[in-house]
Symmetry: C3
Subunit: 315 residues, 3 copies
């Protein structure tokens, strides 16, 4: 594998999920695979789970880890071709990516959506520029429009917890005080189209995700109706794709409650974290025995470790 | 040992001090103890000695180290139970602590007093919340009201340098341009009550530490009188406990001078660092042959390494 | 070797360059040399190449690495002797340097020129104070007036790429939107005086570097004339030494263009990076087959690894 940019880079999802679950049972079994290899983790945004779990995964493989908060610790990057660089940016991505490639064997990069201009975000300027100019494999640690390590984690977690062969999975929009990117929702929607699941998205009118991502997935604007008989309920806020980056009417009635969970088939509750308690979801739901959020975070390590294993085995 | 939250977690001080001194003589003797174990160091405040010495201690034990400046690199934490999280905080301590526990084997946490509300600080919200919700041992790297790694260091340093069986130890308040927490003074006072020492505190009226900490320790408002025949003089500024967080009258005459040191029994001079030269203490004193401040900082490594050894041996 | 403060610390440049090229061929050959040794990298300024390549060099030697952004993560340092520290600085360099020396075996320090006061910068307060008070070897990771790791890199790169025994090397000033330090230019000028090269400096009137550094090196105010028959063209902006820290007339006509490169003997193009494209140098030049900038950055690892090897072999 060259890069892990999106879930399109997964050649066989069932095999990957199986392998990740094997790694989880014996996390140090690949301890020699990464010996004398170095991963560079470049953060343009805050991170807790991704920051720590990716480090942990690399350490489990015996790799060296170099972490860099690019904003502040390095130079402000220019991405434009042919630009006269007489403004704020000190270094061009062409040099930065090539240079970093010489010190590391694998790169992880986090660069969120700015939510200012849809085309800019959906062009994935930062990640795609690093991939274009790097000479080593690049891992997406959440980009403007996708979070494929989270989606792989979610596939692992659903597989571990499903009771029937074709579970009903519901992705439900939730209210949030701030405008958030669509990245987690996008990758989850893409992932569910590769799993054997009865998958439904529910959100208020105006919060439709990009149609090139949702494709044929049914959308139900009635949350309660969508939740009926669900086996997994995945809650996530995202800002509008149409009225890009806007929160529109932040309808608090979409919060996940215990009452709504009772419409489901004793569904497991999922969220990528961090989560705003009692805005996105009630304490009673996230603290219930059906909440998988902590186990999801745990599985982040094994998703990252699987991706690193694939990359190291090929290099 | 589960946690190292305060010096109450030391089961036998003489044994601990002996063991730390043994570690100091052969710092790599436990090199295999921490193999494939990871310590996560979470900083909510600046740190030089604690940051580096705790890393060094972990490396001496063969551990992996992950350092995170929580403020800025992660998400702003909410600690309140049942709160509707529609304000500035993005993540609840319940998730953060459980999640981090899955990536690490031990956690170190630094979270200073805010000096705004005494009850808030003395409730030790941050440290106690991490301890409550973590599933792995937690080490206090200076909390709102205590700095037990520093106090253990001080016990080691005094033991190494004492000439008589029951030395006279004086903790003397010093002036300072900024309001500082009571953490170092508190832990030192607690520690001295467990050592075989003739211990006296001296400070201006109004700077009394919490009575549940000072207990029966004699307080002398006359600095010169207190210093007479001292074997160890520990200088430290702290802000008022009564008029919480205030510096009151910042009496510069309390600075430690060579003239005052001459009242002592050739006392050793101690300070936890960083120190404001010529405000807290004169150059002549800190630069004298009786100054132990650099050796104290050195012993920080062995105090941390002892605590980690205790935790690793038990896990 | 005790310290690597300037290129004066190189005892035999040809031997050093040979050794660095050997290390480059087998970077892990010294993997045991740094076992159980720790390097502390202290940054007072941003860094990409130096940050990553020095870590990589240390990892290649099997060292532990502790990175600290001193500004923000630690305490603000005071450097003055006898100062009453009642202002903004919390810790004196005397303590900081001695303390850090106890946790590490080697220190790397980056502290740029402030460009406010020439005497302050050229006194090298930060680096020299750390060297004075540290008890372990100190490596200059770019100080106020020199960047000797870059200059060593440049010597390696020129040696690798020279076609004739005594190449013509031209250091040419370039325009830049911000005032930059003289550090890279200074160390390059010093280095060239130790190499068997026909070396010329070219810059507009008013941008003369310090005469104690340029010594007898010829200066040509006519850029095109200087470039004739050059084998290596090193481009770099620096602010004025005379009118200290000023950019004077930022003459855009000094930008390096393909047209100017055609005056040379198919010269190799060099720059330390980061570089402002189309201000300092045209895309056509930096993207040409004669551009060495990426290889220069690569050689940063081996320059640092050589310096560390010298230090470890002696300790």
């Amino acid at each position: 594998m060259n890069n892990y940019f999106s879930i399109q880079d997964i050649d066989s999802l069932p095999d990957w999920v199986d392998e990740a679950i094997k790694i989880k049972k014996d996390p140090l079994s690949g301890k020699n695979l990464g010996r004398d290899k170095t991963i560079g983790l470049l953060f343009f945004n805050p991170s807790l789970r991704t920051r720590l779990s990716t480090q942990k995964a690399a350490l489990n493989l015996g790799m060296n880890v170099i972490v860099m908060n690019f904003t502040g610790e390095g130079w402000s990057l220019e991405y434009g071709d042919g630009i006269v660089m007489n403004q704020g940016n000190s270094e061009h991505i062409k040099e930065a990516a090539q240079v970093v490639s010489q010190y590391c064997d694998v790169l992880g990069i986090r660069a969120f959506a700015k939510l200012e201009n849809r085309e800019d975000d959906y062009n994935e300027k930062v990640l795609k520029s690093f991939i274009k100019h790097s000479t080593i494999p690049v891992i997406n640690m959440e980009s403007a429009t996708g979070h494929p390590l989270q989606a792989l984690t979610d596939a692992i977690t659903i597989t571990e917890n499903q009771k029937n062969k074709k579970p009903k999975v519901v992705l439900s929009w939730a209210p949030h005080p701030k405008a958030l990117p669509q990245a987690v929702a996008n990758s989850f929607v893409e992932m569910m189209q590769h799993m054997d699941a009865n998958f439904v998205i529910t959100h208020p009118v105006g919060f439709e995700l990009a149609s090139h991502i949702t494709k044929q997935v049914p959308i139900d604007y009635n949350q309660k109706n969508a939740l009926k008989d669900a086996d997994f309920v995945y809650i996530k806020n995202w800002s509008s794709y149409q009225d890009y980056g806007k929160t529109l009417d932040n309808d608090l009635s979409w919060k996940m409650t215990q009452e709504k969970m009772e419409l489901t088939n004793e569904a497991k509750f999922m969220h990528c974290l961090p989560v705003r308690r009692n805005v996105v979801v009630d304490d009673a739901v996230i603290d219930s025995k059906n909440s998988l959020v902590i186990e999801q975070a745990n599985n982040r390590t094994y998703a990252a470790q699987l991706v690193l294993t694939k990359i190291l085995e090929k290099s």
